[in-house]
């Protein structure tokens, strides 16, 4: 069976997920914040909640989605050519 094309990035990808989810909000805190808004008589149509939500909200609101490409390619080690192309 052919091995993954991304074998060389295994450690980098695992580390990226640890960074992204390492300080994740507890579900109890999340539920308190969200339910308080949901039960309102005039609730907001959108509710942003959880660690990192504000960052995404800002990128979307400012319309600077190109930031995702730079940020994620660096974080996951995808900003450089694969070793299989390096001589």
């Amino acid at each position: 069976m052919k091995d993954s094309n991304y074998r060389y990035l295994e450690g980098k990808i695992n580390k990226a997920w640890e960074e992204l989810e390492g300080d994740a909000m507890s579900p109890n805190v999340y539920a308190k914040q969200v339910v308080a808004k949901v039960v309102k008589t005039n609730p907001p149509e959108e509710i942003w909640c959880g660690t990192g939500a504000t960052t995404t909200w800002m990128i979307e609101t400012l319309g600077i989605r190109w930031v995702y490409n730079i940020f994620f390619s660096r974080m996951f080690g995808l900003n450089e050519m694969s070793p299989s192309f390096k001589k």
Binding site: M1, K2, D3, S4, N5, Y6, R7, E10, I13, N14, A16, W17, E18, L20, E21, D23, A24, M25, S26, P27, N28, Y30, A31, K32, V34, V35, V38, V39, P43, P44, E45, E46, I47, W48, C49, G50, T51, G52, A53, T55, T56, W57, I59, E60, R65, Y68, N69, F72, S73, F76, L78
Partner: protein
């Protein structure tokens, strides 16, 4: 006056749904907490306002059965329908098996569509709310979860369309853009399996 009612999908212990159930109960709602396997949320049964029901959102029989139980208990009204159940697994885009993609879309889009079509009349009767546990992953191109990202983008546009279509009935549609929350869904890491870069991660959020 009788208590307001909420149905929540995906309430396995440690998940977002589990905490939502407790929080709605604390707000004095009558809560119908559901998940595929009731034993996975058994300790919620000690809370007075919470009723546990089995519900597999990808099965029409299961959805209809839950609908009939809840209809009997609430007189056919439901104040809040909370679509929370989700399924996530990781894999690089070109290495994600189609079967796994079907599984993810079955839970994250088609299951929601099914539950929504069956329960909508109850929410309309109550002029209630339909809430979605969405994800910032519907916006962000996180590498190694292309299929999950696309399922969350799909459900968001479904919800936004639903919002407009529900206006004549006084039903509000709320979408929760969820970022990192520490649940069973986020506790596993990606592992390279032989020939695949994939880790079948655990279910219901």
């Amino acid at each position: 006056m009788s208590k307001r009612t909420v149905l929540i999908t995906g309430c396995t212990k440690g998940s977002i749904g589990y905490s939502l159930a407790k929080e709605f109960a604390a707000q004095d709602y009558q809560v119908f907490a559901t998940t595929r396997n009731v034993t996975s949320m058994a300790d919620l049964s000690t809370i007075p306002n919470i009723t546990l029901l089995p519900l597999d959102i990808t099965s029409r029989d299961s959805v209809l059965s839950a609908h009939s139980t809840i209809t009997q208990q609430t007189g056919g009204k439901l104040d809040i329908l909370y679509h929370n159940a989700g399924y996530r697994s990781l894999g690089m885009a070109i290495e994600s098996p189609v079967d796994e993609a079907y599984k993810m879309f079955n839970t994250n889009l088609f299951g929601i569509l099914l539950v929504n079509s069956v329960f909508a009349d109850m929410v309309i009767k109550a002029k209630g709310k339909i809430v979605f546990t969405g994800s910032v992953s519907g916006y962000t191109p996180h590498p190694s979860q292309a299929v999950y990202n696309s399922s969350k983008a799909a459900v968001e546009l479904y919800a936004k369309t639903l919002r407009i279509e529900m206006r004549p009935f006084g039903v509000r549609v709320l979408f929760v853009l969820t970022a990192a929350v520490n649940t069973g869904m986020s506790s596993e890491r990606v592992k390279l399996a032989e020939g695949r870069f994939l880790n079948f991660q655990w279910v219901e959020g």
